[in-house]
Symmetry: C2
C-alpha cells in the first residue's frame, strides 16, 4: 500500500458533517487505504472563515477560503461537497468534474432541484458523482436501489426520511402531545431548527422523494414534481383517530409506479409515477410504524424481492459522514482504476402523474347532525363521486355526531370533489380531518 | 442497445431459485439491458434431468445436463450457480472462472466452507464473484457491508438470518406453542423441511454468520470457526421467562469485534472477532424483536453510522432471484467494461476468539430449596467465578423456589464454571435454563 500513489481529496465545508468526514479520514486512514488500494489524503478543506470554531482539529495549512481554487488544483482527485444549498455548491461540483475529479456530495436540495445538470457533467467528464448521504443519512438506500435491485422491478417506495417530523409525530402519538408542544420539545432537543419550515412543511422530505423516485424508476424527477403537504395541520384528534383504527400517523415520502389508466389510448396504459410527501395513517403492524423518535426508514416494494426495509439514523454528523465515506471509498477505487460506477439512469423516462390522478385510501372525519338519514346522505355523496366506502364509524356527541369514513382506493380528484360536496351539505357542520391511508394491502 | 454485443449467461440449476432467475431474465430483459448497457441472453440452463417438471418454460435447446460443458463454452460471459451444496458447485464455479466468466452464486454452504479457494480463483482470473443471495435472501446486506460501510468501522452484526427458526420462535412467543408443535406447523406450511436439522440446529445460520463476519471484519471466517447452538432445547418456559423480562427469544447470528483482553502482551490487545449462532433473549424494544414470522433482518452497529437494520424476506425463489439478478447486473457491467468490483478483503486478518472468551450477559433459571440462605449461597457461586449479578427474581413454588438471575457481562467460561458449581450444590435441584441476553446497552 505504501508504494501506491495517494489519492488527494478536497473537502468542501467543515461543519457538522464536514468535520466528521475529516475526523474519519484521519482515524480510519489505514482501513480506507486497504479498502481503496491506495492511501487517501486530504488536499485541503474549504471553509467560510479560517478562524471559526470547529469540532475537529484541521492543520491550518490545509484550510482555505478559496473553494474554487481548491477544486481546480491539479493534484485533487476527489471532492467531497458538504456545504449544502444550491450555490456555490453547484458551481464547485461542476468545476471539480470539469477538472477531472470524482465527486461525493450529501446535497439533497441541489440534487433534487438540478440533478440532471450535475449528472450530465459527470457523464461528460467520465467521472463518478455519488450521493448516498443525500437521503436518509447513514442508511444505505440509494446503492441498494440502483445496484442491489437492478435486476428487479421496484413498484413502490415509502420512506420516513425526515427525523424532525417523525420525532414530532412520535411524541404526539406516545405522549398525546399537540403539534406545537411536540415541536417545542423537538426544538429544545435540537431535533428541529428555530425556523422549522423546511422539515415541518415537507420540503426536506420532498427533495429526498424526488431523488428516491429518480433512482427507483430510472426517470428524472425534481423537487418541483413532488406533491407536498407538511404536518403542521395534523391534530391530536387525527392521531387519536389513527389509534382508534389500529394505525399511526407518519409523514411519508412516497414514490410509486402506477398505471395511468388513461382511456384515450388504445393499448395498455404506460405506467407513470406518483411522487408525493404527506402525512398518512399506516397500520401499526406495518414495519414503518415501529420507526420511533428521529430515526428514518425506507420501505421498498418490488416485484421479485417483495418487501424490504432499511432503517437507521437519518441525520447527524457522524452517520452522514459514514455514508459520505462509503461513497468515497467506491469512487476512489473507480478513480484509481480509471472506471466509473453506475451513473444516472433515466432510460425509463416515466411521466410524473398529477396528484389528482393518484389513487389511495382516505380517512375522513365529518361532524354532522345527529339524526336519521344523515349516514345515507353522506354515503350518497361518496358514491356520487365514485368513492367506495370501506368502513364507517358513527359516534354521537350530544346534539351532533361524528362520522369517520375510511374509503377504498379512489383518486385524489374524486376525494376532493366528495369533500367539497360534503362541505356544501346542510347536515354537515364540518369536515374536520382528511388524511390518506397508506401501507395497507388493498 | 441493440447494437451492443449481448452478454451470454449460463444458469446452473433450475429449481426454486433457478427457475425464477430464468423467468426474470426473460421478463425484465429490456430493463436489464438498459441497466447493463447490453442485452443479457441465456446461453444455457444446466439441469439434472431434462424431463423434470419445472416452474418455468425453458426452450428445450437451452437445457443441458452437461454443466461442465456449459461453463466451458467460449461464448459464456457470466455464470449463475444456484445448484447449492459443495460439489459439483465448487468445481463448476472454478471451471467458469478459469474460463474467464464472471460468477454469481447463492451458495452459502460452499462460501462458508471453502470461500477462500473461490475468492483466490476469482482474483487470479481477474473476474467477479458475487454472492448477495447467499445471506438473507433478497435483503441487500453484503453490498452495504462491503461497499456502503467501507469508510466506517463495523463493530457488531446481529442477524435473524434463518426464516424457519424465526417462524418457530415467533409461534412459541405469540401462540404459547411448544417447540415440537411450532415445528410441525412450520413443516405443514413449508417453512421447515421434513428433516429440519440444518435450520433448527443452526447450521444454515452458522454458514451465513461466517460470511457476514468475513465481510464485516475483512477477515477469513469459515463455518468451522462459528460456535453454533440451535433452538431445539428452547422451551415454552424460556419463552415465558423472556416475556417476563420484557424480552423475546430469537436465534441470532452474531459477529462482533472484541478486545481480546489478553494480559500477556504489553500494549492494548489486538481486537479479535466473536462469531456465533445461538438463541438469545433480546429486549422487545430492539428493532430485531419486531421481526415476525419467517422474515429475516440484519442489524449492524458501526462507529460512525450507529445502528442500521436491513429487513425483508430471507428465502423463496423470487426474492432470492432478485438478489442474484442485482449481482448479475453489476457483474455484467463490470465484465463488459473489463473491470472488477470489490473482491475479497481479508487484510485485517482478525483472529476468531474461542467461545470461552466471548463476553455477554446471561439469563439463568435455577430450581432451589425454598429456605433462608439459598439466595446468598447462589449469589456466592456467581461471585466466586467473577460473574456479577444484575437482577434476581425469586418465585416460591410450594416446597421449592425458582431463582431467575440475569447477569452483567461475563465470559462464557466464567458462566460455564458458575453453572457447573450451581449443579453441584445440594440446595440446587436443577439449572433449568441458561440463555444469553443480547441487544442491551451494557
Amino acid at each position: 500500500m505504501e508504494g501506491q500513489k495517494p489519492l488527494k481529496v478536497a473537502v468542501l465545508g467543515c461543519g457538522v458533517v464536514g468535520s466528521q468526514v475529516v475526523r474519519l479520514l484521519d482515524e480510519q486512514a489505514g482501513d480506507i487505504a486497504a479498502r481503496v488500494g491506495a492511501p487517501v489524503e486530504i488536499a485541503g478543506v474549504a471553509v467560510r472563515r479560517l478562524d471559526a470554531p470547529r469540532d475537529v482539529d484541521v492543520p491550518s495549512d490545509l484550510l482555505t477560503t478559496d473553494a474554487l481554487g481548491l477544486v481546480s488544483r491539479d493534484d485533487v482527485d476527489l471532492v467531497v461537497e458538504v456545504i449544502g444549498g444550491i450555490e456555490p455548491a453547484r458551481s464547485l461540483i461542476l468545476a471539480a468534474l470539469e477538472n477531472g475529479a470524482s465527486v461525493v456530495t450529501a446535497n439533497k436540495a441541489l440534487l433534487a432541484e438540478d440533478g440532471p445538470t450535475l449528472y450530465e457533467a459527470a457523464e461528460k467528464a467520465g467521472r463518478d458523482l455519488y450521493f448516498e448521504a443525500a437521503v436518509a443519512g447513514a442508511i444505505p438506500i440509494l446503492r441498494p436501489l440502483r445496484e442491489s435491485l437492478a435486476g428487479d422491478k421496484v413498484t413502490r417506495v415509502l420512506g420516513i426520511v425526515n427525523g424532525t417530523t417523525n420525532y414530532i409525530l412520535d411524541k404526539m402519538d406516545t405522549q398525546g402531545a399537540g403539534f406545537e408542544e411536540a415541536l417545542e420539545e423537538a426544538q429544545a432537543l435540537g431535533y428541529a431548527e428555530a425556523d422549522p419550515t423546511a422539515d415541518v412543511e415537507g420540503f426536506d422530505a420532498a427533495a429526498k422523494a424526488a431523488i428516491l423516485a429518480s433512482l427507483a424508476f430510472h426517470s428524472r424527477v425534481t423537487a418541483a414534481d413532488v406533491h407536498r403537504e407538511g404536518i403542521s395541520d395534523v391534530t391530536s384528534g387525527d392521531v387519536r383517530s389513527a389509534t382508534d383504527m389500529g394505525s399511526v400517523v407518519k409523514l411519508l415520502a412516497i414514490a410509486e409506479l402506477v398505471s395511468t389508466g388513461s382511456t384515450t389510448g388504445g393499448g395498455p396504459a404506460e405506467p407513470g409515477v406518483s411522487v408525493r410527501v404527506h402525512p398518512a395513517m399506516i397500520p401499526r403492524t406495518h414495519p414503518l410504524a415501529s420507526v420511533r423518535e428521529a430515526f428514518n426508514a425506507v420501505f421498498v416494494e418490488s416485484e421479485a424481492a417483495g418487501q424490504l426495509m432499511f432503517y437507521g439514523p437519518g441525520a447527524g454528523g457522524a452517520p452522514t459522514a459514514s455514508a459520505v465515506l462509503g461513497d468515497l471509498v467506491t469512487v476512489a477505487r473507480n478513480h484509481r482504476q480509471g472506471t466509473r460506477g453506475v451513473g444516472e439512469s433515466a432510460y425509463a423516462d416515466r411521466a410524473v402523474l398529477p396528484m389528482g390522478e393518484t389513487r389511495t385510501r382516505y380517512h375522513v372525519a365529518i361532524d354532522v347532525d345527529d339524526r336519521a338519514g344523515v349516514l345515507a346522505a353522506v354515503a350518497t355523496a361518496f358514491a356520487t363521486h365514485g368513492v367506495s366506502i370501506q368502513t364507517v364509524r358513527q359516534e354521537g356527541r350530544g346534539d351532533d355526531a361524528q362520522l369517520v369514513v375510511v374509503s377504498h382506493e379512489a383518486t385524489d380528484a374524486q376525494l376532493s370533489a366528495t369533500v367539497a360536496e360534503l362541505r356544501d351539505m346542510d347536515i354537515v357542520h364540518d369536515v374536520t380531518s382528511v388524511m390518506r391511508v397508506e401501507g395497507t394491502d388493498e
